[in-house]
Symmetry: C2
Amino acid sequence: MLGIFDSGLGGLTVVKEVLRRLPGVRIIYFGDTARTPYGTKSKEVVTRYALEDAAFLRAHGAKAIVVACNTASTQAIDALRRESDLPVFDVVAPAVRAASSGTRIGVIGTRGTVGSGAYQRLLADAAPVAEVTALACPMFVPLIEEGWAGTPEAAAIARTTLRPLRLRRLDTLILGCTHYPFLRPAIRRAVGSDVRLVDPAREAVLELVRALKADPSLSRALRARGGHRFFVSDKTPHFAAIASRWLGRPVRLETASAE
Amino acid sequence: MLGIFDSGLGGLTVVKEVLRRLPGVRIIYFGDTARTPYGTKSKEVVTRYALEDAAFLRAHGAKAIVVACNTASTQAIDALRRESDLPVFDVVAPAVRAASSGTRIGVIGTRGTVGSGAYQRLLADAAPVAEVTALACPMFVPLIEEGWAGTPEAAAIARTTLRPLRLRRLDTLILGCTHYPFLRPAIRRAVGSDVRLVDPAREAVLELVRALKADPSLSRALRARGGHRFFVSDKTPHFAAIASRWLGRPVRLETASAE
């Protein structure tokens, strides 16, 4: 089984990509909805939560872990790899590789993701001559989770928030949070139509496909009989509605604690 | 010592009122910033967290507890009173009493607060002939926490969100979340200038003042030498900045877990 975790439900966009590109893989998902969001919290707290999330997936039979959350990928990936005997895939490194052909590269994400400096450090290595600008966009997750993504109000907030990036005349922008692709039209209008938008979820799954091609035994370990399982640490009617909408099909959420 | 807890930092508005009206009382505060917000989470999870928060305050010497969070007050007050040997004050009952002279009463709050039905039930008892309308405003907390309160974007979201209340021609509106007074001008414009706005934090502290007048031994128990203490379960530069801004003076946050 392939374990995928996220601070909440945003990681279901990664699940959707895996289902499309790796139909034989059996998924176990954990969304930490009882402690969501991670993006406003410190490295120490995010690391502790991420280690618990990964341990939960391992205990339930995962043979590899995908960290679907950009905040956890930037804050906790070293700790996750140090503590884990399973392969751990993140969303940040593949996004950096995809963006590294740019010369004026922007990164947007949560306060935690941008504050960690992880994207900035990796981009400095991968694209040493590029100009890199990182910007926290803390309003985007609530706008998307609360259903405002297509509204004029969200477009106005995106325009105001992203003005500093517009002035940098980017050629490439990493949407460094699993939620942000839902706000893609507003982001696109705010930064200009000639900017290439990089979606880390998509890049991470493409990388996973390549890794599984190169490692048939891991690929076999991720295939198993039985259905996918979707665990959350808290379930409300709103969370359930979001889950089905984002996965694009009805989903039965099971409740479990990772603590 | 008087224990005050909240899902995060919003409860500092209650602290501010206590400092103003009960200057002799020594405060111990706990803000659960590692698991904030509570407003999106289920009754079960909110109840578990609230019990842990109250136990933390009791273990650190609190002789009475104020639940500064509307969500915890509506979802967990029965459990808190059942499990506690200390007096537990909440913000909901005082707000209901203050609003009960209205005839067309509105309540706004988080998804959890409104979904619990607690305000609606208490208002049906206290003001049986009044028309009551409750509305969840899940965007208001992020707008306030991220510093958008005074902006045209926030005003636009408030106007769109509150349109159903405007149509009800309210005479009274309960701002059923400790954050909402920060958005008062936008809310006022959206619902009309003749609506009386009830602030539960203010009403709760007025009630506490009356309770302490009636119970001198409790009043004595809350007075103690030494400074106030402010604990949070997670500390980031952003949380620290919010805390000082909302309390209206510099504050030293100490980190502790309630789990």
